[in-house]
Symmetry: C2
Subunit: 642 residues, 2 copies
């Protein structure tokens, strides 16, 4: 669909900009979008009379209604301007938020006025096709074969994770359902229940092909958990890293599997799944006779931005199949980090060799000298995503698209038949010759129903303008990665900040896997972990909406706690490095940290970043002074020092 | 929040209009929305330097990137204009689509640029509050006590239905979980398992209060199906009318309950749940020892727009509690018809007496003489919604808000604790004194996660401008109801349409409960039901996107099939009235119908409607002539006559 690009993409031309630098263009295109639609309406059957006349439009109650409309919009504008968070500014380094692509905002507005509903092709003749195309874009980015895979937009990563587990769950119960059907059970003759619960996803899908040939697919599907409900505890365990998003706990509840069937996998000091422990736990479960329903890898943990060793999961599955005849489903939760895979792809969607990749980064100044990215582990993790059965990815995170746009991709689209439905009023008979793929009735093949076609247009337009490879999203995302690296480096070597006689040191938790930098402040000489946590919590409060209007703040960030309850002993690595005693850690069992997803594109010039860093140091010093000042006023007990 | 309204709402001033009549105002407000945001950005720390300079903006690759952006938007515009469906025109009478409120479109655009995420209050300080407010607006409309109830926005009715069944499912397993906990089981001492599965929703919620007092709530909750998974077949039956949306089958799959636990309730000749049969089935299930998990009522069936006897469901529950000690959860799927409840409410949110209501309709010309609305049954059905445990409603249907905006309301907000979650990075400690209600972290209390704050703003703004009572939405929705009534009346008495020597009659299936009119064409003298169905299917094809570009069509509608498989013998009433033999019905077992949700506001003047109807008759005649012509050319076998 893309016309060949004569000149490279200019990242600065993609966003409105922190000073609304591109306001003229944005307004011009907004006017275009609106006018196009208004004229389209008026031009539909020009012979039809206007049903509202100018005379009526000048009546008192008509004008009053317009004025009231304006009044409500003014009220909304004042609310938004008062308390919204300035994501667009480099002063904001917190959640996965930044400026969003102009083209996706404009495409949304343009499409919204036509109001398509992507539930059914009939209600969205244009945008269902755009959604299918955008879904395949994502499949290609993940290394899936676009002829055999399938992807679509969800309202967010949470629903995408549900859908991944939904197909995995239904898939797991198909072999047992086959064994129960008298005309099908020969397909699994001689297999024990244990063996049936340990078939590989592709083996189960091959069985469904056979069922379809025999005309038994629907009958057998009705005998799977979809039809008869879940048999408590029968489906096996779901292995999810401790660093998981809380949507995984929700998923186990929603899907009726039960949260106790999650087996948390410990993470290593980089907050990635600990490979040795993952292997140990997996082998133990198999030996104990537990089937494994699914293994979840996280590409971009919510709290640390860490990239799991997806390659090790894929290797482990092969090993389990070979050694024990035990297979399982692999889902990658790349809600946060999925789009980063574009950093590794050349213009032909080939995952580049490591050395060629680095050479290209240098040649095009995507990753400059002095910045080491990607780590080998991270490279291998992204590469192996192509082998996962399904992947969650959020266009509204590192796709730089406005909310709400999540997505899920499935490696083998046959799996969709395990969850698909049809209803008379949405189901259209599809003429295969006309291209069945794009006339799909999405609502009957996905978890959700009605959905805005405008979202599909926004994602589609972004993908057309910014290709999902090194020359497109690679350039956009690369900027944040470089800035994050610089930020982490500065934090790691920053001189102490002085407030009166007191001195404070700031340090990053670890070197980021892509662009999330976590860090804490510590008063030099105060080795109380509780005081440390209180200081950082206070710092968060005065650098966030928690202390009032963000618009008047100098710096904004987010925060989280890393506790023993959720992470075991992993945070101890950092706590120890900051000079706290083991006794402190064992007492407090939690470290409060500041959390910055460095997504801004606007600090990519070294001189801009240097100026920014100098200013930031001053801001940090002023914030610390403010905290010390409050502490002095209110008494030492309530703030930093206990 | 509303300022007192000096003058009444003018419905024509709420929409862009089929001829873009309000284009000047819409463009002005759009310009206002965009400018407000652009200046807000620029005014944030005016001392910060622009990071993109005019010199850079005039570089070749910068301009090229802008031109490419424009090119993609032009491409999108051409796609949208080519194949979108003109919902805004009275020529479109099909799905639940019409022109949408200007204020909600403008509020969406205004808010989208700030890009709030209503998953967490931190990411949406403004719009989480707007969502809570909009949710309570809906609760009030349904007669719920706003202090005890809770409502929120979902991506659509499908997810809202899931959420209603999710809470019902978890609730059902709490009493058994209590019985399993040694420190709690005294609360249910002496109760058999059967009794525990038949407790009323409010009795279970009272038990959870006691658990919270004892500090055992979380432990017991972990013993409910949320923690341990579903025990196959243990939860009882879900009674859903045959007229159900297919999302109910999806819900049973997603939630792990199993589709076979749905008990379909037959519908009467008005396509409402058949009360006598509902009672009979319910009593039989109770006598057979099956617990009932939930009873679902539909307010606005997808295919017929029928309003279930919610009052009879509420009465039945009370009767079952009294006679058999058996209670169940009641959910109302009012995705389609929910907003119609505004038709019954005065400005103080009181559900008006029937006679006073009719008097007011006449006095304000909301329902003119000659139109009978509401039927008594419909009135009682809407009234009883206040007694349901939860309600699904779609702002993107009869709320006249653009996609995607569904919602779910819960009568007793204590129920949310049965599904709520917290995660470190979204959970904020809430200061009760500052108003805990609006600082809620939505993502931890609902099914979905990330969600556009812009949707909340769109719904909130609509509710501020158009109050959820007779003077607001009542006026908007009333227009469609009146037009639908006129349309049904004309169809019922329409003279035959003549094509050469052949004569065709058009008739409505039934008188609408609110604004959906289903109808079919029949050739006079041809009593083959297959031919009838073929004729109407052909009519649909040439009056929809199925035959190509809708923009060049004269009339657009939707269609569906009413079959024995889904509706039992109900469609026979209409089939018989059209003169088909019982043998025909028993052979074909399905009737193909045209389906028109009459949502347009623009035909409310009798003279406009008359002119429209005359034109429509000509269109119908021309369409029939076209079909006859095709038939003549291609041979009788393929089209109307077999």
């Amino acid at each position: 669909m893309n016309t060949p690009n004569a000149s490279p993409l200019n990242v600065d031309a993609l966003f409105i900009g922190p000073k609304s630098e591109n306001r003229v263009f944005f307004k011009e295109m907004m006017e275009y979008a609106v006018s196009e639609h208004l004229h389209w309406r008026a031009d539909f059957h020009p012979e039809d009379p206007a049903l509202v006349t100018p005379v009526e439009q000048h009546a008192g109650d008509f004008r009053q209604t317009l004025y009231r409309t304006e009044g409500i919009l003014r009220q909304l504008s004042s609310k938004l301007k008062n308390t919204s968070v300035p994501w667009f500014s480099p002063r904001y380094l917190g959640h996965m938020n930044a400026d969003t692509l102009m083209v996706s905002n404009l495409a949304y507005v343009m499409t919204m006025m036509y109001n398509p509903n992507n539930c059914a092709h009939e209600a969205s003749p244009t945008t269902t096709e755009l959604e299918v195309e955008a879904g395949l874009d994502l499949c290609r980015m993940f290394g899936y074969d676009p002829k055999r895979s399938w992807g679509h937009i969800t309202s967010g990563g949470t629903v995408a994770n549900y859908e991944g587990m939904w197909v995995a769950r239904n898939l797991k119960t198909i072999p047992l359902a086959i064994a129960q059907h008298e005309k099908a059970r020969d397909l699994v003759a001689g297999k024990s229940e244990k063996e049936l619960l340990n078939l590989s996803p592709s083996a189960v899908l091959d069985l469904t092909d056979e069922l379809k040939k025999r005309g038994l697919f629907e009958e057998v599907r009705a005998l799977s958990c979809r039809g008869v409900g879940i048999k408590q505890g029968s489906l096996g365990k779901i292995l999810v890293p401790q660093s998981k998003h809380y949507s995984w706990m929700k998923a186990m509840d929603v899907l009726g599997i039960g949260q106790e069937h999650i087996v948390p996998l410990p993470v290593d000091e980089n907050y990635r799944t600990d490979v040795a422990k993952m292997r140990e736990i997996t082998f133990r479960l198999i030996k104990e006779g537990h089937p494994i329903l699914a293994m979840v890898s996280v590409v971009g943990t919510t709290e640390e931005g860490s990239i799991d060793h997806v390659d090790e999961v894929i290797k482990l599955r092969a090993e389990c199949e070979r050694k024990y005849g035990a297979s399982f489903y692999v889902h990658v939760d790349a809600a946060y980090g999925g789009y980063v895979r574009a950093m590794f792809l050349d213009e032909d969607n080939r995952f580049m060799d490591y050395d060629a990749l680095l050479a290209r980064y240098r040649a095009e100044d995507i990753i400059p000298a002095g910045v080491t990215w990607p780590k080998h582990d991270v490279y291998e993790g992204f590469k192996a995503m192509a082998e996962a059965d399904s992947i969650t990815v959020d266009p509204h995170k590192v796709g730089y698209i406005q909310y709400a746009a999540g997505a899920v991709c499935m490696k083998d689209k046959r799996i969709v038949d395990l969850i698909s439905y049809h209803a008379a009023y949405v189901f259209e008979e599809v003429d295969e010759a006309e291209g069945a793929d794009t006339k799909v009735v999405l609502g009957s093949s996905i978890m959700e129903g009605s959905k805005a076609g405008a979202t599909a247009a926004a994602v589609w337009a972004a993908h057309r303008l910014v290709p999902l490879n090194i020359g497109g999203y690679g350039k956009v995302i690369g900027r944040g990665i470089v800035t994050a690296d610089w930020f982490a480096q500065r934090l790691a070597s920053a001189k102490p900040l002085t407030v009166g006689r007191r001195r404070f040191e700031v340090r990053p938790i670890m070197h980021p896997d892509f662009h999330m930098v976590n860090f804490t402040f510590k008063e030099i000489g105060n080795d109380s972990l509780e005081d440390h946590n209180r200081l950082n919590k206070k710092m968060y409060e005065i650098c966030s909406y928690a202390s009032g209007r963000t618009y008047t703040n100098d710096f904004l960030t987010s925060s989280t706690s890393l506790s023993v309850e959720e992470y075991g002993d992993t945070p101890w690595h950092y706590v120890a490095s900051r000079g706290f005693s083991r006794a402190e850690w064992d007492k407090v069992e939690s470290v409060y940290i500041l959390r910055a997803a460095v997504m801004t594109h606007f600090l990519r010039k070294a001189e801009d970043f240097d100026a920014y860093w100098e200013q930031l140091r001053e801001v940090f010093a002023a914030k610390l002074a403010h905290i010390v000042d409050m502490e002095d006023k209110t008494g030492a007990d309530t703030l930093i020092a206990a």
